[in-house]
C-alpha cells in the first residue's frame, strides 16, 4: 500500500495530477490511430478528429441550409423582384417571364423542406451532438477514447453517406423532396401529389435511414463510454453537466430514432409495395387509388414520437455546453448542480410523453389532447428551473465576456423567449389559432434553431483551443455574437405577430389572402435582417478557418482556469489524450471561487484531492 502511494506521488509531479497507469504506453508504438494521412485525417478513429469531422461537415451543411433560407426569404420578402440572376444555379426552377425571373413554387417548397431537414438533422443533431459528444465525453471523463473507436468512425461515415445522398437529391430533375421536414403522407407517399415525392422522397428516406444508423452508432458509443470508461473517482454525480446532457441525449436518440425509421419503412412500403399503412380513400391524378384502410395520423404519431425528443436531442447538448461555459467564465459553480441534472433527466423522460402536442389539430380525439396538454406544460417546470439556475450562476460572479461566454448568455435569453411561447402552444386551446402559423415558426426557431446555434457557438469558441491548439479571434467572435443576437431577434420576433394575425406557415406567397397580405414591410424587414445575419455567420466561418492556421497559439494547458479534465491533457494531445497515465478525480466539476471558510481558491481542478479540513460539495454532502 505504501508502495502505491509513493508511486502516485511521483506521477503527480510528472503530469500535474495524480494518474493511473493503465498500460497505455505499452502499445504506444505502432500507433493504430495516426499512422498515415488517410487514417489520421479521413478514416480516423481518434474521437478528437472525428469531432472535427462532424463539426466541419456540420458547418458545410449549415452554410448550404442557410443559403437556401435566403433564397426563399427573398421570395417572401420581395416576391416581385427579379430572380433571374439565380438561374445559372437553379436552372429550370427559375422561370423567366418577360425578363423577370420568378422562383417556382414547387422549388420553393423543396428549399423549405431541405432547409428544415438539413438544419434539424445534419447541423443541429450531427453537427452539434456529434461534435461535442465526441470531443468532450472521453476528455472530460478521463477516457483514452470512445468505447468503440471503430463504431465511432463508422458513425461519421454513415453521416457522410447520408449527406451525400441528400446532396445528390438536389440535382434530380423532379427536384428534391418538397413535403416539409415532417414528411407527412399521403403527400410524401404519392409521387402524383408532388413531383418532390418522386425520386426526391426516395433519396430523402434513404438518406435519413443512414442518418439514423449514424446516430445510433454514435449513441451506443456515447452511452457505453459514459457508463464504463469513466476514470477512477468520476462518479456519475461528479460528471460535468455537459456529459450528463450528452448522455441523456444519446439515450433519447437510441429510444426514439428507431421509431422514426419504422415510420419511414412503412412509408417506403406504401410507396413501393402497394401497401396502405397511411393511405385511405384517395383520389389523385384523375384516379381513385386502390389502397384503403390506412391512417395518415398513424404516421404523425410515429414521426412525433421521435420528433419531440428530437428537439431535446438538439437542445440538451447546447444546454450542457452553456452550463459549462457559464460556470467557467462566471468563475462560480453552476447553481443547483443536482437540480440541473434532475431537470435534464426529467426533460428527457417527459419528452417521450408529449409528442401529440404537435397533433392537437390533426384530427386526433380531443379528449386525448387533455393528457398531452398536462404533460407538455409540466415540461415547462424543469425548463424554468434550468433558466433560474443559469441566471443564478451569474449572480455574484466575476464574469469574463469572451466570445464563448457571450454566446452562452445569449442562449439563455433566447431559451427564455422561445420557451415562453411554448407555453402558449402547449395549451391546446391556444394552439387552435396558433397551430401551423408563423407563431410556431417563431417559437421553434428561437428556442431550438437559434438557441441551439448559440450553444454550439459557445462550445466552438470555448473548446477551439482543445481542437486546434489555437484561439479563435475574440474581437471577430464578439462582433459575430452581437450581430447574430440582434439579427436573430430581428428575424424571428416579428413572426410572432404575423402568427397572431393568423398567417399560416409554409406559404409561397402571402398575396392570395387578405388577412396574410398586410405584412409586406415586415417581410421585407425580416428578409433583410436574415441576409445581414447570414453575413455575420460568414465572419464566423472565416474566423474559424483562419484561426486553425493562424490563430493565437494556446500557451497554457488550462487557459480558462477550468476544473475539468480536458484541460489536463497536453495542448496538442495525441491519440489516447494523456501521454502517461489517465488522471483520477477527487471532486465535482464546479469548484470555482471556493471561499467557504474551509478553502479559498480561484478554482480547484477535479484532479486535486480534497484536503481533510475542506468541505466537499459533491453527492455525499449535498443531501
Amino acid at each position: 500500500m505504501a508502495d502505491l502511494k509513493h508511486n502516485e506521488g511521483l506521477l503527480v509531479e510528472e503530469y500535474g495530477y495524480e494518474a493511473i497507469e493503465d498500460g497505455f504506453h505499452d502499445h504506444h508504438h505502432g500507433d493504430k490511430y495516426q499512422s498515415g494521412f488517410i487514417t489520421h485525417y479521413i478514416f480516423s478513429q481518434d474521437h478528437k478528429m472525428i469531432a472535427k469531422q462532424f463539426l466541419i461537415t456540420g458547418m458545410f451543411w449549415g452554410i448550404i441550409g442557410g443559403l437556401m433560407s435566403l433564397v426563399f426569404r427573398m421570395q417572401l420578402g420581395f416576391p416581385d423582384s427579379d430572380m433571374s440572376w439565380l438561374q445559372p444555379i437553379l436552372r429550370g426552377w427559375i422561370s423567366i417571364d418577360n425578363g423577370v425571373g420568378t422562383l417556382d413554387p414547387q422549388f420553393y417548397y423543396a428549399l423549405v423542406t431541405m432547409h428544415g431537414t438539413i438544419l434539424v438533422f445534419f447541423v443541429l443533431t450531427a453537427g452539434l451532438s456529434g461534435t461535442f459528444s465526441n470531443l468532450l465525453i472521453p476528455l472530460q471523463l478521463g477516457a483514452r477514447d470512445m468505447a468503440s473507436p471503430l463504431l465511432n468512425m463508422m458513425s461519421y461515415w454513415f453521416f457522410f453517406l447520408s449527406g451525400a445522398i441528400m446532396f445528390a437529391s438536389l440535382f434530380l430533375s423532379t427536384g428534391p423532396f418538397s413535403g416539409g421536414w415532417t414528411a407527412y403522407p399521403p403527400l410524401s407517399a404519392l409521387p402524383q401529389a408532388s413531383s418532390g415525392s418522386a425520386g426526391g422522397m426516395t433519396l430523402w428516406l434513404l438518406s435519413l435511414v443512414f442518418f439514423v444508423v449514424s446516430v445510433l452508432l454514435g449513441g451506443i458509443n456515447y452511452i457505453t463510454t459514459v457508463l464504463n470508461l469513466r476514470t477512477k473517482g468520476m462518479s456519475l454525480w461528479r460528471m460535468p453537466l455537459t456529459i450528463w446532457a450528452f448522455f441523456v441525449t444519446a439515450i433519447l436518440g437510441l429510444l426514439s430514432f428507431p421509431v422514426l425509421v419504422s415510420g419511414f419503412l412503412l412509408v417506403m412500403c406504401d410507396r413501393g409495395l402497394g401497401t396502405s399503412f397511411f393511405l385511405d380513400q384517395i383520389y389523385i391524378g384523375g384516379q381513385a387509388l386502390e389502397q384503403v384502410g390506412g391512417s395518415p395520423i398513424l404516421y404523425q404519431h410515429l414521426f412525433w414520437f421521435l420528433g419531440h425528443p428530437e428537439v431535446y436531442i438538439i437542445i440538451l447538448p447546447a444546454m450542457g455546453l452553456v452550463s459549462e461555459v457559464l460556470s467557467v467564465n462566471a468563475r462560480k459553480p453552476i447553481f443547483g448542480y443536482h437540480a440541473m441534472v434532475l431537470s435534464i433527466l426529467a426533460i428527457g423522460f417527459l419528452s417521450f410523453i408529449v409528442w401529440a402536442h404537435h397533433m392537437f389539430m390533426a384530427g386526433v380525439n380531443p379528449f386525448i389532447s387533455n393528457i398531452f396538454v398536462i404533460f407538455t406544460l409540466i415540461i415547462a417546470v424543469p425548463s424554468a428551473v434550468k433558466v433560474f439556475n443559469w441566471i443564478s450562476t451569474l449572480y455574484k460572479g466575476n464574469i469574463r465576456f469572451n466570445s464563448g461566454m457571450l454566446f452562452a448568455i445569449g442562449f439563455v435569453s433566447l431559451f427564455i423567449s422561445g420557451g415562453l411561447t411554448g407555453i402558449f402552444l402547449g395549451n391546446s386551446a391556444i394552439d387552435i389559432p396558433m397551430h401551423d402559423t408563423y407563431f410556431v415558426v417563431a417559437h421553434f426557431h428561437i428556442v431550438m434553431g437559434v438557441a441551439a446555434f448559440f450553444g454550439m457557438f459557445a462550445g466552438v469558441y470555448h473548446w477551439f483551443p482543445k481542437m486546434y491548439g489555437r484561439f479563435m479571434n475574440d474581437t471577430l467572435g464578439k462582433l459575430h455574437f452581437w450581430g447574430t443576437l440582434i439579427g436573430a431577434y430581428a428575424v424571428f420576433w416579428p413572426m410572432h405577430y404575423m402568427g397572431m394575425a393568423g398567417v399560416p406557415r409554409r406559404y409561397y406567397s402571402f398575396a392570395t389572402f387578405d388577412f396574410s397580405n398586410q405584412f409586406d414591410l415586415t417581410n421585407q424587414f425580416i428578409t433583410i435582417a436574415a441576409i445581414i445575419t447570414f453575413g455575420f455567420q460568414i465572419l464566423f466561418v472565416v474566423n474559424f478557418f483562419y484561426s486553425i492556421f493562424y490563430g493565437k497559439k494556446q500557451k497554457q494547458k488550462n487557459p480558462y482556469g477550468a476544473t475539468t479534465l480536458e484541460w489536463t491533457t497536453p495542448i496538442d494531445a495525441g491519440h489516447g489524450n494523456w501521454p502517461g497515465g489517465i488522471p483520477t478525480v477527487h471532486r465535482w466539476a464546479y469548484d470555482y471561487g471556493k471561499n467557504d471558510g474551509t478553502m479559498d481558491r480561484e478554482f480547484i481542478p477535479q484532479t486535486e484531492p480534497v484536503s481533510p479540513e475542506e468541505k466537499e460539495y459533491d453527492d455525499k454532502h449535498l443531501h
Binding site: G179, G180, Y184, P186, L187, L279, I282, Y283, V292, S295, I297, K332, P333, F335, G336, Y337, A339, M361, G363, P366, V381, A384, F388, N389, I391, S392, L394, Y395, K396, G397, N398, F401, I409, V412, I416, L420, S428, A429, I430, I432, D436, T437, D474, T475, W493, P494, Y497, A501, P504, R506, Y508, T512, F513, F515, Q518, F519, I538, Y592, K594, N595
Partner: protein, 478 residues
C-alpha cells in the same frame, strides 16, 4: 461576370474581416493585453445593458405597433363564440409569461453587467439553495396548473361535438330558443388545390360519398346519388355561406392529401384527412356586413383596398372572412382561398331557397343517364315549380300596380353551378328586397317561418318517398 464580381467581393470581405481581427489584436498588444481585456470586458458588459433596454423597449413597442394587425386586438374582432374564450386564455398566458419574460431577461442582463470581471472582485461560492430552488419550482408549477385548467376548459368547450339530442337543420330557425338544439352541418373537402364546399339543402343532411365515384368532370365529390339525402345537397366551390348565430358543424375531409380547414377570424382549424372525416363545431357571431361596418370606423381600413385603384372600394368594403389551408399539401398550398360569407338568418334561408334548384343532383344528374330517380317526381322539383308559378303570378300582378309585393326570391334561372356573379347579384337583390320592406321584417320572418314549416313537412314526406324510390328498383330487379 456577375459571379466573378461576387467572388471578388467575397475575397475582399474576407480580407477585411481578417484585418479587423488582426488590427484589434495589435492595438491590444500595444495597450497591454490585460488592460485591453479589461476594456473589452467593460464594453461588452455595457452592451449587455444597452441590448436589454433596446430589447425590452422593442418588444413592447412592436406589440403596440402590431396591435391593429393581430386577431383579437384592435379592429380585428373575433367572430365566433369559442374564439373569445380562447383569446381570454391567450391573454392570461400572455400576462404570466410576460412577467416572467421581463423579470428573467432583466436579471440575466443586469447580472451580466453587475458582475462583470474586475480584478479586485472575487466570485462568491454559491452552489445551491434548497429553499430558493423549491420556491422557484413550485411557482411555475402552480402557474402551469392554473393555465392547464383554464386552457382545458376552453379546449373542451371549443372541441365539443354536437350533442345527441341536437338536430341537423337545413333552414335555420329565427327564434333563438328554437335554434338552441339545432345545428347546420356543412362540409368542406380539400383537394389539390382548393376546397369543395357542400351545403345539406333543406333536409339538413349531407348525402353519402364514395371516393371511387369521383370524376373531376361530373362528380368531384363522389356523391352517391342513390342516397336521397344527396338530392338537395348544394355543392359550391367559391364561397361558404353561413348564418350568423347558428351553430355550425363543419365536416372536414379530403380527397387526396392532408389539408387543414382554417378560418382565422373564427379560430377554426382542423386537419382534413382522406378517409377520416373530422369536424369542428362553431358559431359565427358577426355577419360579414356588420364586420365591415365595424371596420369602417378605423382610419387604416378607410384606404383603398387596391392601392393602384384609389377610386375603388375601401379596405373595409372589400373585407371578407377567408377560408385557407393550414397544412402543407403541395405546391399550391398557399392558394386554397375561399370566401366565407356570414349572413343573417333570414338571408341564409333565402339563399337556400334560391339555391335549391342548383343542387348538384338537379343540375348535373337529373334526367341524365344513371339518374337513379329517373321518371320519379321529386318533392324538391314540386317546390321549385310551385315557387316559379307563384313568381310568375306575382309578375303578372306586378304589371298591375301592387306596392307591397316584394320579390321574395330571385327569378329561377335554370343555370348550372353557382358562379360568383349570380351570387353577388342574388345578394344585392336580397338586400334591396329587405330594405324595400323596411317595416316588413315580420313579413320576411313570417314568410320564412312558413317555409320552415313547409320544409319540415316535406322532409318527412321526401324521406318516405325516397325510401319507396330506392325500394322500387330493387323490387323490380328481382
Amino acid at each position: 461576370m456577375m459571379y466573378l464580381i461576387g467572388i471578388l467581393i467575397t475575397i475582399f470581405l474576407v480580407v477585411i474581416i481578417v484585418q479587423i481581427g488582426k488590427v484589434n489584436e495589435l492595438t491590444a498588444r500595444l495597450r497591454g493585453e490585460k488592460q485591453a481585456a479589461q476594456d473589452g470586458n467593460d464594453w461588452n458588459a455595457k452592451l449587455m445593458l444597452l441590448f436589454m433596454v433596446a430589447f425590452l423597449v422593442g418588444s413592447v413597442w412592436s406589440a403596440i405597433y402590431y396591435k391593429d394587425y393581430m386577431l383579437g386586438y384592435g379592429p380585428n374582432l373575433l367572430a365566433s363564440e369559442h374564439a373569445v374564450g380562447i383569446q381570454f386564455a391567450f391573454n392570461i398566458t400572455l400576462f404570466f409569461t410576460g412577467i416572467v419574460f421581463v423579470i428573467t431577461q432583466i436579471l440575466l442582463f443586469v447580472f451580466s453587467y453587475m458582475y462583470r470581471y474586475r480584478e479586485d472582485r472575487k466570485a462568491e461560492f454559491i452552489s445551491h439553495d434548497n429553499k430558493l430552488e423549491i420556491v422557484w419550482t413550485a411557482i411555475p408549477a402552480f402557474v402551469m396548473a392554473l393555465l392547464v385548467v383554464l386552457g382545458l376548459v376552453e379546449w373542451n368547450k371549443s372541441m365539443a361535438d354536437v350533442g345527441e339530442n341536437e338536430k341537423p337543420v337545413g333552414y335555420v330557425s329565427l327564434e333563438e330558443s328554437d335554434r338552441e338544439d339545432t345545428y347546420l352541418e356543412i362540409e368542406a373537402t380539400g383537394k389539390q388545390f382548393g376546397w369543395i364546399l357542400r351545403h345539406p339543402g333543406k333536409d339538413g343532411k349531407l348525402g353519402e360519398k364514395d371516393y371511387t365515384l369521383i370524376d373531376d368532370a361530373t362528380n368531384e365529390l363522389g356523391l352517391v346519388f342513390d342516397d336521397p339525402k344527396n338530392i338537395d345537397d348544394i355543392v359550391i366551390s367559391d364561397e361558404l355561406v353561413l348564418p350568423v348565430g347558428q351553430k355550425i358543424r363543419a365536416r372536414i375531409t379530403s380527397r387526396d392529401v392532408l389539408h387543414n380547414f382554417d378560418i382565422p377570424h373564427f379560430y377554426v382549424k382542423m386537419d382534413a384527412i382522406p378517409g377520416i372525416p373530422t369536424h369542428f363545431v362553431f358559431t359565427p357571431t358577426m355577419t360579414t356586413e356588420s364586420y365591415r361596418d365595424h371596420l369602417s370606423q378605423f382610419p387604416e381600413w378607410n384606404v383603398p383596398a387596391d392601392p393602384d385603384d384609389p377610386e375603388g372600394p375601401k379596405r373595409w368594403e372589400a373585407f371578407e372572412y377567408e377560408l385557407a389551408c393550414a397544412e402543407l399539401c403541395g405546391k399550391g398550398h398557399y392558394s386554397m382561398r375561399r370566401i366565407v360569407r356570414v349572413v343573417t338568418l333570414e338571408e341564409y334561408n333565402e339563399w337556400l331557397t334560391k339555391n335549391e334548384e342548383k343542387s348538384f343532383y338537379l343540375t348535373n344528374v337529373r334526367g341524365k343517364l344513371g339518374d337513379p330517380f329517373i321518371n320519379k317526381k321529386l318533392s324538391i322539383e314540386e317546390r321549385i315549380d310551385r315557387r316559379n308559378k307563384e313568381k310568375d303570378a306575382e309578375k303578372k300582378k306586378d304589371d298591375a300596380p301592387a306596392p307591397d309585393a316584394a320579390p321574395s326570391t330571385t327569378p329561377a334561372t335554370p343555370e348550372t353551378p353557382t358562379t360568383p356573379e349570380t351570387n353577388t347579384e342574388g345578394n344585392t337583390l336580397n338586400n334591396s328586397s329587405s330594405s324595400e320592406n323596411s317595416n316588413g321584417t315580420t313579413t320576411i320572418g313570417g314568410e320564412v317561418k312558413n317555409i320552415i314549416e313547409k320544409a319540415t313537412e316535406e322532409v318527412k314526406k321526401e324521406g318516405e318517398e325516397a325510401k319507396g324510390l330506392i325500394d322500387t328498383p330493387k323490387d323490380g330487379g328481382h
